[in-house]
Chain length 115, copies 2
């Protein structure tokens, strides 16, 4: 859990991100179907779908002789969590710097105590 490594890797490719959007907009689709919407071969799409599925972002569902790929709910949150962590920690740093400029990383807390 909270292992966004594969998620970020999977979302690195623009085509893959577009596939995600298509699936989000249009619901589960097959590789052949998606291939019709992109300027690449079906096999290329299959590879992308495999990558996305392996990252836990999609799930395969056999429907007769077709195979539909649909988004796995919530999996994108792993990436969002990472972004939130980094972004928020940074914001806290900035706020601390503004509040009382103490750029020393060793003492992040506002220390008002005297001996």
């Amino acid at each position: 859990m909270a292992d966004p490594d594969e998620v970020f890797e999977a979302l690195a490719d623009a085509t893959r991100r577009q596939i995600m959007r298509r699936l989000s907009d249009q619901g589960p689709l097959s590789a052949t179907d998606l291939a019709g919407q992109f300027p690449v071969s079906r096999q290329a799409v299959v590879k992308h779908l495999s990558t996305l599925a392996h990252a836990g972002l999609l799930h395969r569902e056999r429907q007769g002789r077709e195979v539909l790929y649909g988004l796995v709910p919530g999996r994108l949150n792993d990436a969002t969590t990472w972004l939130d962590e980094v972004g928020r920690t940074w914001d806290r740093r900035l706020a601390a710097l503004v509040g009382h400029f103490s750029p020393d990383p060793q003492r992040p807390g506002p220390d008002q105590e005297g001996p």
Copy 2:
């Protein structure tokens, strides 16, 4: 704006993501400094920093003879926005499917009309 392409590309690499975290935790650092925290050469770190900076995630700041790299606030939001859009649209789809099951993408509305 809202062009997360470069951001996702930049965040694809694990080392780059770790660099982002280090900068978030420890504040602006130089390439040489960061290189000491990773099992790669300084030049490799420089390349990563360039990639991140080119994506708008970092900014360079010359400090005497050193060059410090620090996070650009808010830039991560572009990625978050994308994730939110895709995730939310999907959730809405799922909710609609649960509410009244009409898996036909062509007719998303509940059609009660007779001829």
